[in-house]
């Protein structure tokens, strides 16, 4: 199994995770994905890539380092993002009842392993 598939497997094994993607943040395109039916991976990749890019620029303009983790909470679930090396972002789409704490730990660790 490739490193990328291993990373996505780790994230999707967390209860409540509906899909995981590796996204190229600069162009908002999918590098790899493991998604349940009904999750629009292309939209998640494009919008999360844009969000992480803007948050990174905002943090840098404020004199902070790039975000280590982004949690966007909505009524029907959350989008989690962990920036990795080489402009890659590990993204997870999770249900409202997901174990977000465990997903966060797995994603930060998995994103670091991408280098």
């Amino acid at each position: 199994m490739s490193t990328v598939q291993g990373v996505l497997d780790r994230v999707t094994r967390v209860p409540g995770v509906r899909g995981a993607l590796l996204v190229s943040a600069g162009d908002g395109l999918i590098v790899a994905e493991q998604l349940m039916d009904g999750v629009d991976g292309r939209a998640a990749a494009a919008l999360t890539g844009s969000l992480v890019g803007r948050l990174t620029r905002t943090a840098q303009q404020a004199g902070l380092e790039r975000p280590a983790f982004v949690h966007l909470r909505a009524e029907a679930g959350s989008v989690l993002a962990a920036p990795g090396p080489d402009d890659l972002v590990l993204v997870a789409v999770v249900a409202p009842d997901a174990n977000v704490g465990l997903a966060r730990l797995e994603m930060i660790d998995a994103a670091a392993r991408l280098s």
Binding site: G26, G28, L29, R42, A45, A46, S50
Partner: protein, 154 residues
């Protein structure tokens, strides 16, 4: 933003707001401009339309030679700005979109909202027959009228 047909305006406005595209051109597959945003000179828009239609025709021929129906789109990545060219079907025939965008957005965002615009255009296009092709004797006056509509000249 200027459009020759009013039903094109809303989908194009939504696309422009969501995608942050710098320039957008909608045209027929023969290069006749339907709507434009961001171009300031009629010469530029006519040139871009002609070149865009030519590129799409070339890539569709390459696709045919490769045994595939057609390519979904073509993206030129530039350092300061990029360009996406994509053909799509509408009830008014095959159209082409040419979008120029900068680093303030991404190709993923542009493609995502372009597809949404195409879906909106297809659903809002009037179902009656499109006007017949312009005859040669009317071509100059039709072209002049289109340019006035696209650039707001009186």
């Amino acid at each position: 933003m200027r459009a020759l047909e009013p039903w094109v305006v809303e989908p194009l406005e939504v696309f422009l707001a969501e995608s942050s595209a710098r320039l957008t051109l909608l045209m027929t597959s023969s290069g006749q401009v339907v709507a434009q945003h961001g171009f300031s000179r009629s010469l530029d828009v006519m040139t871009a339309a002609a070149l865009g239609a030519g590129i799409v025709a070339s890539t569709e021929e390459i696709a045919r030679l490769m045994g595939v129906t057609r390519f979904a789109g073509l993206v030129h990545h530039g350092e300061r700005q990029s360009c996406m060219l994509s053909a799509f079907g509408t009830p008014r025939g095959r159209w082409i979109g040419l979008v120029v965008f900068g680093p303030e957005t991404s190709v993923g965002i542009v493609q995502l909202f372009f597809e949404q615009m195409v879906a909106q255009l297809v659903s809002s296009a009037p179902r009656e027959q499109a006007p017949p092709p312009t005859l040669a004797e009317n071509f100059e006056s039709e072209l002049d009228a289109s340019l006035k509509a696209l650039f707001g000249r009186t």
